[in-house]
Amino acid sequence: MANQNKGLIGRYWSLLTNPTRIAMGIILALGFVAGIVFWGGFNTALEITNTEEFCISCHEMEANVYQEYRETIHYSNRSGVRATCPDCHVPKDWTHKIIRKIAASKEVWGKITGLIDTREKFVEHRKSMALREWKRMKENDSRECRNCHNFESMDFSEQGRRSVTMHSTALASGEKTCIDCHKGIAHELPDMEGVEGWH
């Protein structure tokens, strides 16, 4: 038998490249099942971490940003349609979602070390956190806003005068994106010193 002359790696290699039917079947079946379990489990975990309940299960979020957000248009409004935390903070498509989730592992570290576990600490850190969100949204052209607010579907005759003035010019031309003009749409603002367009 040729196999006996080969080393362990060589034998494994030939098993993979030249397996018997049964071995092949078992490998495929196991792989398939494991795939489903891992993939399903992974995505389920992703989905669980992608709910508002999960976001505000953390006291840092519940006591600060959540309370502020409850007074804003995306929580209480005339149509009853809500935007929840992940709607604005987590991308919808898979690749971007994973990238955002990996970035979030740093936030888990912040949680463990109690970086923002009091209101004072939270407020002190708000600016750096807000700057990060603004940068992310600026770079992706406010993708999360646009998931719900489609520029093509905006009916200017239904909007206020001030909205039309800005939307039909700087927004339409692509010079500005939503977050350039709508900072603080869901939370209180940090000290705006040095932020473009603010005092």
Partner: protein, 151 residues
């Protein structure tokens, strides 16, 4: 005949006094704009009036009147950290946003000193400027604008 008339008049006067006393017993006799409602009872609340999103600017009625705000201001925060109003009304931003720029008086301290930025006493805009709901006045009003402002 005359006597009978007096009695009728007297009786009706008496009943009307009693009737009003019963009705006003707990009101202290005061009828307010809220209507005749027992003090210990809640009267039905009027529906909230809406502030139109944008409207024409208001005419001013007297000199040095802080102009009324002709737009909604829901969620516009003015605090130590930020001033939403100035993000449109400041001299840096008014051209881009199409808003009226704050006038020179907003840069003055109370001793008339001119600052290079909005004076602290004019920082909290809503102290003086308020939006108007779409509501009819409750009481008639025949105020006339001063001559130079009346058409």
């Amino acid at each position: 005949m005359k006597k009978r008339l007096t009695i009728v008049a007297f009786v009706s006067l008496l009943t009307s006094i009693i009737a009003t006393n019963v009705a006003w017993a707990d009101m202290g006799g005061v009828q307010s704009l809220r209507g005749l409602e027992e003090l210990d009872a809640n009267n039905t609340a009027d529906s909230l009036k809406r502030v139109p999103r944008d409207r024409e600017t208001f005419e001013r009625d007297y000199l040095h009147q802080p102009p009324l705000i002709p737009h909604q201001i829901r969620g516009y925060k003015v605090d130590l950290n930020s001033n939403k109003c100035l993000s449109c009304h400041s001299w840096q931003n008014y051209k881009k946003t199409g808003a009226t720029k704050v006038s020179m008086t907003h840069f003055e301290t109370r001793d008339g000193q001119q600052l290079s930025d909005v004076s602290p006493r004019r920082y909290f805009c809503n102290q003086c400027h308020v939006p108007q709901a779409d509501a009819k006045p409750l009481v008639d009003n025949n105020f006339n604008s001063v001559k130079p402002l009346a058409d």
